[in-house]
Symmetry: C2
Subunit: 371 residues, 2 copies
């Protein structure tokens, strides 16, 4: 167990439905509320459990939609009420993380915050924690620090971070500056990145002083920054919070923190990176979920779901079962079967990315009831 | 509409679960009770409707399991009570058809019976009826007559009947004698049969005088014949029927009528055949069901089930839906999805024959509740 870091606050943005995991992931049961690893815990809970040794249970904030408040509090019985930040509607990651930063910096001017998505899977928590400890040491020097995952294969599913020079920071032997971010590459490029070893996967984890983060938002998106300040000023006043949120929140610029903070900071040489040597996945689609759950299973058929009663004859892929039905698969390869009470999906790993298209079609077709 | 044939009685053996159509076909809802063509009627009802113009509604008998009595009578509200023959357990087709023959011949010594499975699909009923009319004319001459389907492709899924010499019978211009029966061939052999045109599919339809059929059973299976006689003698006496059935029926030899009657008759030159020029299928598995239902459908995805709400993106095959769930298929080819309230099957046309193996595994696994 790591030592709690006294000036550190963890922020968990718990938003995003995960459309490519429909019909498992739904508007009222988004990805972060599911157990996608068979651990017995939701991804959100696993995220909390990884952060708790670093921040302590009193210093983990969750930013989520109003509709998910009850589910989040049920998953995280230890979360203090004042650390649950409710969005009236999704305004992307800069607004979510920026709000937490703006509120926390008023409570504690020199606080270092780290933001970690609620719906990622990480194996070997102590390697994650070691990376965060280094990142906090770097953040204390005024850098914005990210954790880039050392690739385990030439993935075309993630963006990359190109490491540059070594940074000499006490307590952070692996720190380096960031040369640039690159978008998801084609396979050939991914292979050169993989061989190079200085390209890391962008896992969207950012650790910095809250005031440094806010200054970067202010430099690039001053209106958004002003809105966040207005929200923060009223936040801890129960009577004022509601009206200010209703007035200010819906007008905030929607922009990912990668564009509002990370890339501009990288250009200015203010972004650092710690390589993460742990298994990490954002479980973006069912192909990824199948891979995550197939290790060591007979015939490589991964099964997710407590009540699943599966008969498989020479089949591979993944079955996600949320019903008690008998499910029989015969001779289907790399199949994806997601069995829920009101919707059934059948596809293959190869086509897993196209699930979002189905969700769009259902929306257009007025079938919001199953989304 | 054909003229009713006054000396003709139609017999519909309605037995067999159709294991290769699980989980659509079940012990308590066997294949013949399902609408497999989207006609709005069960296969049993369609069979009845094809035969009614030939025999009249008072002269169609159904041989079925005791458990299916209510369902059969619901499907066939016009069937007279005395024409429903209930089996206490399945004893194969010679017992089923032989019982009907033995009972009917006592009621009407010169009756001609034709037996037609309850779970086959036939398009263009008037061509079927024309074949039966010819077969009855041949049967009046003392032959056992079958209807062999003129193949529409070199199928390896059916047995074949090799036509021999033309038979000169009034009212049956296409009648011929049968040289021999052949089992399901390999593809190369099937191609030579298909090119030859004198090989017809064995559809298991037999038309003959009841006394001629019984004499053939007696010659080849005298004990079985004796049992049928004993049953028939007591059948129309309400008080005696039950005890005799309980005593005699379970001991009857299980043998298909192909082996007890048709093949021996063919060897003696007593079997005739009328070629059938109509579309026919025994819908033996989901590959066959897919083919039957895919004509002219978008992307060749056949859909069976009134409440089906299907979203298909570049998929082909068949979906059978018995629930109101949204079913979404993405990029799956020749897929078979059968969605029922308590069981789900996912396979491909290629593996459709292996469904029976799943049923066997469920039996062994003590999951009779879903069979």
């Amino acid at each position: 167990m790591s030592q709690v870091i006294s000036d550190f606050y963890a922020v968990i943005p718990a938003g995003g439905i995960g459309s490519r995991l429909w019909p498992l992931s739904r508007a009222d049961a988004p990805k972060f509320l599911h157990d996608l690893t068979g651990s017995g815990h939701s991804l959100l809970r696993d995220t909390w459990d990884r952060l708790e040794p670093l921040a302590g249970s009193e210093r983990i904030a969750v930013v989520t939609g109003r509709a998910h408040r009850a589910a989040v509090e049920a998953q995280l019985p230890g979360v203090p009420d004042r650390n649950v930040f409710l969005e009236s509607e999704p305004r992307d990651s800069t607004a979510a993380i920026g709000l937490a930063a703006a509120v926390l910096v008023r409570r504690e001017p020199e606080v270092i915050i780290g933001s970690f998505a609620a719906d990622h899977v990480i194996r070997v928590p102590h390697l994650f924690q070691w990376a965060v400890q280094q990142a906090v040491a770097v953040a204390r020097q005024g850098y914005i620090c990210t954790i880039g995952i050392q690739p385990s294969e030439p993935s075309i599913g993630f963006g990359y971070i190109k490491k540059a020079d070594e940074l000499l920071v006490d307590g952070a032997p692996e720190a380096a500056t960031v040369e640039r971010f690159v978008e998801k590459p084609d396979l050939e490029t991914a292979r050169t990145y993989f061989a190079d070893r200085s390209y890391l996967w962008n896992a969207g984890m950012f650790i910095s002083r809250a005031d440094v983060l806010l200054a970067e938002i202010e430099a690039n998106n001053p209106e958004l920054h002003a809105g966040l300040m207005e929200l923060a000023e009223a936040w801890d006043d129960r009577d004022r919070r509601g009206p200010v949120v209703d007035r200010v929140w819906p007008g905030l610029t929607k922009i990912a923190i990668d564009y509002s903070v990370a890339e501009p900071a990288a250009e200015k040489g203010k972004l650092a990176v710690i390589p993460g040597h742990f298994d990490w996945d954002d479980v973006g689609d069912f192909a990824s979920l199948a891979k995550l759950n197939s290790h060591g299973r007979k015939n490589d058929l991964a099964i997710l779901g407590g009540n699943a009663r599966i008969l498989s004859d020479a089949s591979s892929g993944i079955v996600v079962s949320q019903t008690s039905r008998v499910i029989s698969l015969i001779g289907v390869q790399d199949i994806v079967v997601v069995d829920t009470p009101d919707a059934l999906l059948v596809t293959t790993s190869e086509h897993a990315q196209r699930v979002k298209g189905v969700v769009d079609a259902l929306k257009l077709g007025g079938r919001g009831d199953v989304l």
